[in-house]
Symmetry: C2
Subunit: 200 residues, 2 copies
């Protein structure tokens, strides 16, 4: 059900086509939510049926057309209602931690590689999110810029700060992952002294 609200969130900044949404999920916004186009187009149609958004066919080039959706009053109300209701936490399902718990069955080098990959992956995400925060703070983020256009200037701070804060949360969590994986490398070295083979 979150896809629907991710789409509403995007459409609160400006009207967009399904393709625009897809592109945003592929790049910047994709740092916090992602969906393939095969999920986006049908969901937009359902949302239009439910009156949350309104589609308008606009010309594109000489013969082409595209469908631009804008959020409706009902859509804004639904988005607000979602934000005001308590979130539900889903059950734990952590394939990486599952692996880590059984590393005594793996080759020591596979264990080391696992933690190095973990550090690389989360290090990369941290850099992405730090860049994102920079573009939010200096208002060079295009989606943010278009959002701010429609808002009074004394609201700008609130809008920016909540978004920056969300990305800071992702960064804090990723830093915890990196710190953990670094301890993991040391653990493998400690447990797998020299020649020890994988457990039987």
């Amino acid at each position: 059900m979150s896809l629907r609200f991710a789409l509403l969130a995007m459409l609160t900044s400006q009207p967009m086509t399904g393709y625009d949404v897809y592109k945003n999920f592929e790049t910047s916004v994709g740092y916090v939510w992602h969906a393939p186009d095969s999920q986006i187009y049908p969901e937009l149609r359902r949302m239009e049926q439910d009156g949350l958004i309104r589609g308008e066919t606009v010309p594109w080039g000489r013969k082409g057309t595209k469908k631009r959706y804008e959020i409706t009053v009902d859509g804004v109300a639904a988005f607000r209602a979602w934000l005001n209701e308590p979130p539900q936490y889903t059950r734990e399902r952590d394939p990486l931690r599952l692996r880590a718990a059984y590393l005594e069955w793996a080759e020591p080098d596979a264990g080391r590689q696992f933690f190095r990959d973990h550090i690389d992956y989360h290090g990369g995400r941290i850099r992405d999110w730090e860049d994102m925060i920079r573009t939010l703070r200096d208002h060079t983020n295009p989606t943010l810029a278009r959002r701010l256009e429609g808002q009074p200037e004394d609201e700008w701070q609130r809008i920016v700060e909540y978004k920056v804060f969300a990305y800071e949360g992702l960064i804090e969590r990723a830093r915890a992952e990196v710190a953990w994986a670094e301890r993991g490398l040391a653990l493998v070295d400690r447990l797998e002294g020299a020649e020890r083979p994988a457990s039987s």
Copy 2:
């Protein structure tokens, strides 16, 4: 595909029925992986077809029977292969961070409640995982105890340490979430000075 390996992981400690697996997912092991029984029974049948586990019908009471599965040599090999191959990281999809990024649309009190819920939820998980670590360290965890029975004593340390370390990772991440949510409470107080209503 991870469910399959979660099941193999459990069956490396001892033979189990589908119901045993289900009960474990509901309680202790559920702290790291969870699945409903409607997913477990069919997957066990598929795994038996693929030769990863072997099912044996055993009597239960006077008329009842149950099917106990044990892991096969092929199953152990498949589990090892999974652990040795590099994990694949899935795309970001974080409904809670999505919410947090748009809290300027919510009621201030809903924002505060959001962060308090976040602290409560992750605080609870931390306590669960800390208890789990205690039962791993003192070998009172029944699943661990049965696993150690089948292993030479000089392997015990490795087996326990990797499991403890996995839970420590969950705890570190959850602590980052709590710290973030505490900063979030302060942020709401700072941005929503007194009477300010939700943004338009």
